[in-house]
């Protein structure tokens, strides 16, 4: 074995195709090579990509029409190919098509004139859309749905079209129908078979699916054999069907299946299947041992796998074989489970194993609810012990459990019908005991994570969903396995004797969410009341601010009211941000970052008068540093006189709404981002929450306000506003995700109301929206269900709760300076008008900064202010 590694040292690998599977191969081979360093192979990889851009996520292609950009769909992290360690190994050639393979010379000729020598060749050419041979299928209004270029062409035509049809009612066809609907077209689906998704779904399920799809405004035509496409009368084209009927539409998209792209392999004499596909063995090797084929172009035991997960498996196997020649781990492809779960236009559809009950002797259980439009079926072996397959339409909550039962041949419970029946009173749904799963059970198929790996991660300290995703990637892609991952994680934590405990602190045996609920339901208005009813001890610096925040979120009383004052962290207690030397910084609100020259001058005058250090913040406002406690009320009074109010920079609350200048001035702007930002900021200003909240509003997709890095990001589109949520800059940057697209202003505000209040209601203490989202079991789909589709029936309640906060808003500075009880607290000493002698400043770049402790030592205490910085210190007598 060791001998052979020497021979292959300095290995040239050529990859034809940079799609999802080609890129996965690249990632895996690099990781495997890095792992075998330093005595590992010197592998150099050249990747040929015929498209103008590197690999992107084709599974989520339809999101392109819901507002995602090509960049957001990219699978390649920014700067990946420019990284030094990548650059020395990998060359990506865009717009380059492999023209032919010379197996004798071991070279590939490329459309750009290059000839590349290879030691190992990986064919990852994928598939092309199948276009049925119908007369007129090459008309200018005919499209296919595969690449971003295809989508751009569709979008261009869609802009002037009124109607469109998808030929093909399978999985991809319905995805495509969603795209047409997102383009605002009157959408039709034409299917040759008698039902939609004939491969995955049975007759009853197909009927239910059809009903759901049609109720979403898509017209479905089954049993239709298109014979020709000709000029139309009421629209640009007419589809002529074999039964004599016709349909007129402006544009046509073919999505009638895929064909493996095996032409290169065919031309160089590699074995291909009778109906296409490059024949591979268990090691993904073609009939030439130096050439591999992976993904949708490969034919394994007579099967083509049109899903991404088996393609990824093949990529991993080939990467291991190429990079890990010394590895004892003999990887082999063992086929793949073709079970699928997806959301089509908001409708859950799932299919597992033998969905049609083709196994001899098998029996099925069926449940249909025509009111809720839910259909579920399980197929059970003749002996009744094992689950063979399932179909679910309208609700696929049991997918993870049922899939594991099929894959691991777990014995069925006594009455398997309860696996799919709705829970009746007192009868608990038989859950799959995760203990029953074998260690090797694959839980996350997207990222190939086993139960054993999840358990190991728990033992290494990953005890939250977010930490689990970071440690193992389980649940980080499609999210379908998240409920199961959570169950396994909790079960392992219990097994390890780890407390599955989310108590806020020693004073309250409740999570923040539970306390919020108690405060709401029992109408509790003070910390003392909550502590007496549900807690113990005096409270502490963990539970007091948390409860203070909950009370403020719910009832929005003045935070420095006598009952609440002692709950506030020093920042909230002084309505300013404490700095390292015990002085404070002051941030007046400038909604949307808009400020008049007079306002700016007034802020400058205040800073000058009180000798404050001045800096522009990231949230488009001005921060004034070095204010002493006793100066704060005077500073606020002057700012209030100039028309400013508190910016809540000190609170776990809504802070700022950053905006770009928008359509008012910018020649590219399509929406008035400043106007919206100001309204939004004024609506939500000061809302107390589990953590700080930042907004951004951009006037076009150039995104100058960096809204996708904010908790709430709003981006103007030609048709309204796109709403993004749960982004973050800071310690762990996270891009916000699209919650809803092309909203009018009223709907936008309603969705933000619901989103914010749902976050306020359910997040943990000090949990930013990004972490909250990563820990949300149902993921983005769930959030969309709650906020957009109102699945929990909470929308009205959440909106009303927000309206109360909006209606009871008061500027806290104004309140503090006018309330004598509060105002008299703003002194450093309770028994003296002197200031804190430890505070001293020195001058730097024309402004003050705190003196270091060493600098303070050198100056006689009394003379500090005068000698260190030539800056006035104004303290007016109270």
């Amino acid at each position: 074995m060791t001998q052979s590694t020497l021979v292959v040292n300095g290995l040239d690998v050529v990859v034809i195709g940079h799609g999802m599977v080609g890129h996965k191969f690249l990632e895996c081979v690099l990781a495997d090579v890095a792992q075998s360093a330093p005595d590992g192979l010197d592998v150099r990889v050249t990747v040929l990509c015929e498209e103008p851009r590197p690999a992107y996520d084709r599974v989520h292609l339809s999101e392109f029409f819901a507002g995602k950009s090509a960049g957001e769909l990219s699978l390649v992290s920014e700067g990946f190919f420019a990284r030094d360690d990548i650059r020395e190994r990998v060359r990506l050639v865009l717009n380059a098509q492999a023209v032919s393979i010379d197996r004798a010379a071991r070279t590939v000729s490329v459309s750009n004139g290059e000839t590349l020598a290879y030691d190992k060749l990986v064919i990852a050419t994928g598939s092309s859309p199948f276009v049925p041979s119908i007369a007129g299928n090459d008309r200018t209004d005919c499209f296919v749905y595969r690449t971003i270029e295809d989508l751009e062409a569709m979008r261009l035509r869609g802009a002037s079209a009124k109607s469109g049809v998808v030929v093909g009612g399978g999985l991809l066809g319905l995805e495509c129908a969603k795209a047409l609907r997102d383009l605002g077209l009157d959408t039709h689906v034409v299917e040759f078979a008698p039902r939609l998704m004939a491969v995955q779904v049975d007759e009853d399920g197909g009927r239910m699916l059809r009903g759901k799809i049609e109720s979403l405004g898509v017209t479905v035509h089954t049993h239709k054999n298109t014979t020709a496409i000709v000029d139309g009368e009421s629209a640009a084209n007419r589809m002529v069907f074999a039964d004599g009927t016709h349909l007129e539409v402006d544009m046509i998209v073919f999505s009638a299946g895929i064909r493996p792209r095996d032409e290169l392999a065919r031309a160089c004499g590699l074995e291909v299947g009778a109906r296409g596909g490059i024949v591979i063995d268990d090691a993904c090797r073609t009939s030439d041992p130096d050439i591999y084929a992976i993904g949708e172009c490969a034919l394994w035991q007579g099967q083509i796998f049109g899903l991404v997960a088996p393609g990824y498996d093949m990529a991993r196997i080939v990467a291991k074989t190429i990079a890990g020649a010394t590895s004892a781990e003999a990887a082999s492809f063992e086929g793949a489970d073709m079970s699928t779960k997806l959301k089509l236009m908001g409708v859950d559809v799932a299919s597992i194993g033998d969905a049609h009950g083709k196994t001899p002797g098998s029996r099925s259980y069926r449940f249909a609810d025509e009111r809720r439009e839910v259909y579920k079926k399980i197929v059970v072996s003749g002996c009744g012990k094992h689950l063979l397959g399932a179909v679910m339409v309208g609700d696929a909550a049991e997918y993870g459990t049922l899939l594991q039962m099929v894959l691991n041949r777990i014995e069925l419970p006594e009455a398997p019908e309860f696996l799919i029946l709705p829970q009746a009173d007192g009868k608990a749904k038989p859950a799959l005991g995760v203990e029953a799963l074998p260690e090797g059970a694959q839980i996350c198929s997207c990222n190939n994570v086993s139960k054993a790996q999840i358990c190991a991660a728990v033992r290494d300290g990953a005890t939250s969903l977010g930490a689990m995703k970071a440690a193992t990637c389980a649940g980080a892609s499609c999210g379908g396995c998240v409920p199961l991952v959570t169950q396994i994680m909790k079960s392992e934590m219990q097994r390890q004797g780890m407390a599955v405990n989310n108590h806020l602190c020693e004073h309250f045996p409740y999570s923040r969410q539970a306390l919020y609920h108690l405060v709401r339901v029992e109408n509790i208005k003070t910390f003392g009341d909550l502590l007496a009813k549900h807690g113990r001890g005096l409270g502490c610096d963990v539970c007091k601010p948390a409860v203070g925040g909950i009370l403020a979120s719910c009832w929005n009383e003045f935070v420095l009211k006598k009952e609440h004052a002692s709950l506030q962290d020093s920042n909230d207690y002084y309505l300013a941000n404490i700095q390292r030397d015990g002085t404070y910084s002051v941030v007046p609100r400038m909604p949307g970052g808009e400020v008049t020259p007079e306002g700016l001058i007034a802020v400058g005058m205040v800073a000058k008068k009180y000798g404050l250090y001045t800096k522009i913040t990231g949230g488009q406002r001005v921060d004034l540093f070095g204010a002493r406690v006793e100066q704060l009320p005077f500073i606020w009074e002057e700012l209030i006189d100039a028309g400013f109010e508190s910016g809540h920079a000190y609170g776990k609350a809504v802070r700022t709404v950053k905006s770009c200048v928008g359509s008012t001035w910018c020649r590219y702007g399509v929406g008035d981002s400043v106007g919206l930002a100001i309204d939004v900021e004024n609506r939500y200003k000061g809302l107390r929450a589990p953590h700080k909240i930042k907004f951004g509003v951009s006037g076009c997709t150039r995104e100058c306000a960096e809204a996708q890095g904010k908790d709430i990001g709003i981006i103007a589109t030609e048709r309204g506003w796109n709403l993004y949520v749960c982004g973050n800059g800071g310690m762990k940057p996270r891009h916000a995700e699209l919650l809803a697209a092309d909203l009018d202003r009223a709907t936008l505000i309603r969705y933000i109301d619901r989103f914010l209040m749902f976050y306020v209601r359910t997040a943990d203490r000090l949990q930013r929206t990004s972490v909250w989202r990563d820990n949300l079991e149902g993921g983005l789909d769930y959030l969309i269900d709650v906020v957009v589709h109102d699945k929990l029936g909470l929308a009205t309640e959440l909106e009303a709760e927000m309206q109360l906060v909006v209606d009871t808003y008061e500027c806290e500075w104004q309140k503090a300076v006018t309330d004598p009880q509060t105002r008299r607290r703003f002194r450093h000493f309770v028994n003296s008008d002197e200031g804190d002698q430890h505070v001293a400043f020195v001058e730097e770049r024309g402004q003050i900064r705190p003196a270091t402790p060493e600098e303070r030592q050198q100056i006689p205490v009394r003379a500090q202010h005068e000698t260190l910085a030539e800056i006035p210190v104004v303290v007016e007598a109270v």
């Binding site: 005096l538 502490c540 601010p545 004052a565 920042n571 002084y574 015990g582 028994n831």
Partner: protein, 119 residues
């Protein structure tokens, strides 16, 4: 609490600093006593008690302890420094996280609504 045994302390060390009403229950204030900054806390869990420790937080090197949040950890009554959140025992001045960086504790008492500190 130690301040109950205040009779043992010479009378002239006691200094009146403020009215009990000047301290919002379960918060602190800073008093200037003989040139020294002393953080005085008013704990109210049924009956009113006062505590006094040095105001200067050795961890952050800022005079801020009077502005911390007070509470209990187990049986101990503590204040959390507003800068880096170290906890100080109000009875002894001990820093729970780093006892080397503890502060002085002072006797304190309330008499007819007047808060007294012995320093």
């Amino acid at each position: 609490m130690s301040y109950v045994a205040s009779n043992a302390i010479a009378q002239d060390t006691w200094v009146p600093v403020c009215k009990l009403d000047d301290i919002v229950p379960n918060t602190g204030v800073c008093a200037l006593v003989k040139g020294e900054q002393i953080a005085v806390f008013h704990i109210d869990d049924g009956d009113a008690r006062v505590f006094a420790i040095g105001n200067y937080d050795p961890n952050s090197q800022a005079a801020v302890l009077s502005r911390g949040l007070v509470g209990s950890l187990g049986e101990r009554i503590v204040v959390a420094s507003p800068i880096y959140k170290h906890h100080f025992d109000l009875s002894t001045g001990e820093c729970l996280e780093d006892p080397v960086r503890s502060v002085n504790a002072f006797a304190a008492r309330v008499e007819n609504g007047q808060v007294w500190v012995s320093a």
